[in-house]
């Protein structure tokens, strides 16, 4: 397959074309807003294309390791055990996006159950570790989001 230019480079070039060629030719304000939104979405997807496989794979392992620690430490019950089991079953050497997404979602469920258990047990240390993982996740969501304003609203 052709790997260069990379997917994110291609998406960003489409974005540039939209901004420099299409948008100036648009006179309908509603369509202009639509084009501006597409520009934003292309930026989001370029960042995702460049990193999402690596980010999800990395986070999945961290989330699962944390969930195992919580389960081993005492808090948690059947829900956490089942979520860990499901996350382990979803792990796959495949890097196809659907497989990575499935493993990521299953690991996320294990993290959710683990954090809920840590909070319910009043375990601040374990809760803090879980929050750190969630924070890292939301930080990456911010990186994907980039600059963002409510286009089209006064």
């Amino acid at each position: 397959m052709i790997s260069r230019p990379t997917t994110d480079q291609i998406l960003l070039d489409c974005r540039r074309e939209l901004l420099e060629t299409v948008l100036p030719a648009v006179s309908d304000p509603a369509v202009a807003v639509c084009v501006q939104m597409m520009e934003n979405v292309l930026r989001n997807t370029a960042t995702r294309a460049a990193h999402e496989i690596a980010w999800m794979t990395e986070e999945s392992e961290q989330m699962l390791a944390y969930a195992r620690d919580v389960a081993a430490g005492g808090p948690g019950g059947d829900d956490l055990a089942a979520a860990i089991q499901a996350a382990e079953a979803a792990r796959s050497p495949s890097l196809h996006l659907d497989d990575v997404v499935a493993a990521y979602s299953a690991a996320g469920e294990a993290l959710s159950c683990a954090v809920e258990a840590a909070i319910a047990a009043g375990d601040e240390a374990l809760t803090g570790r879980g929050v750190d993982l969630i924070k890292a996740r939301t930080d990456r969501e911010q990186e994907i989001k980039g600059e963002w304003t409510m286009i089209g609203r006064g």
Partner: protein, 350 residues
């Protein structure tokens, strides 16, 4: 908001002003035959996304003219938020009769017989919205802020026996808050992928409940665009009213003001605002303070945020499409980040 970003196209029959005029004439002639109503004009109003709004001028007895507002349900395929017009009408009737809340009088209700769709007819409040008034040159922002606190207090002091049988009464404050905080977790479990931050928020909000406050009438969409300025303030758009924790309105007012154009009348001087509110309602700083307002800002965001999340879920399952939807994923990302930061900032304050 809770307004969708989706543009409203309007229910076809309600775009026909002549038909609307004839229907209104029939309604008024039925409701007030002795006053010989004559509809002089009907024109559409913009700005409302959830209901179809029109303004009509009516002449009574051949002499007295009155402007009225028609608040109609849109076509069912275009309903963004499911609320009941008959419930809203019943609520507005009892509030109008009690004169306890600053609001335009509710006049008539049509079940669709005359106007083709459920419609409430209200007295028209002249003047501008507070959203516009607060952005005018030389606006008395501090004065507006205190007036808002007064209006909120008036709503929250409403005797709940008035709305008994009209609005559902939660069994207790504990049950009510459990339901609200549980919504984050329920929505996450219904979503096609795991979103740990939502589960954390649900657990955190439940574990860090503020001191309880008596249940009261909650407007549900208390924001400057829903407040008219005509001498005093008049509160409109009651479709989301319910019995709940009054601090929801404080949190929503703060949240909405912070995320739209125009000054945030709460954030100008939160202590002055809250001091006024507490003095009017007889509440204490133990229950109504900046921390609890922030807590309820997260609670109050539930509805709008989860609507966007559900739309994203629909797209993931192939049931929805559109660039607006993918664009709004950024709002989800922003919400995730903000709610997490808010909860961390509140640690130890509640």
């Amino acid at each position: 908001m809770p307004h969708s970003l989706r543009g409203y196209r309007g229910e076809p029959a309600l775009r026909d002003m002549d038909a609307l005029s004839r229907g209104l004439t029939r309604l008024l002639s039925t409701e007030a035959p002795d006053r010989r109503p004559e509809v002089l004009s009907v024109r559409p109003l913009t700005g409302g996304y959830s209901r179809v709004m029109s303004r009509a001028t009516v002449r009574w007895d051949g002499t007295e003219e009155q402007d009225v507002i028609l608040r109609s349900d849109p076509d069912s395929s275009e309903v963004v938020y499911m609320t009941s017009r008959i419930t809203e009408w019943k609520l507005l009737r009892v509030l109008t009769a009690a004169r306890a809340v600053p609001m335009p009088a509710a006049l008539y209700y049509d079940d669709g017989t005359h106007l083709g769709t459920e419609t409430i007819v209200l007295d028209c409040c002249p003047g501008s919205s507070l959203h516009a008034a607060a952005q005018a040159d030389g606006a008395d922002l501090a004065g507006h802020a205190l007036a808002v606190a007064d209006a909120l207090a008036a709503i929250h002091l409403t005797d709940l026996s008035l709305v008994e049988g009209v609005l559902e009464t939660p069994a207790s404050w504990d049950d009510y808050l459990s339901d609200l905080t549980g919504e984050w977790s329920r929505a996450e479990r219904a979503h096609p992928e795991s979103v740990p931050v939502l589960r954390y928020l649900g657990a955190w909000l439940s574990a860090h409940r503020p001191a309880p406050l008596g249940l009261g009438l909650v407007h549900g969409d208390f924001q400057t665009a829903n407040i008219m300025v005509h001498g005093d303030l008049q509160v409109i758009d009651w479709e989301f009213a319910h019995i709940g924790d009054p601090r929801e309105d404080l949190g929503w007012f703060n949240l909405y003001s912070a995320s739209t154009s125009g000054p945030n009348l709460y954030a100008l001087d939160p202590e002055a605002f809250l001091e006024r509110y507490r003095a009017r309602t007889g509440t204490s700083a133990d229950t109504v303070n900046q921390a609890t307002v922030t807590y309820f800002s997260v609670i109050a965001a539930t509805r709008v945020y989860l609507d966007i999340l559900r739309a994203a879920g629909s797209m993931a399952e192939g049931r929805a499409q559109g660039v607006m939807l993918t664009y709004n994923l950024n709002a989800v990302a922003l919400g995730n980040f903000n709610w997490l930061s808010t909860c961390q900032a509140l640690e130890g304050m509640l």
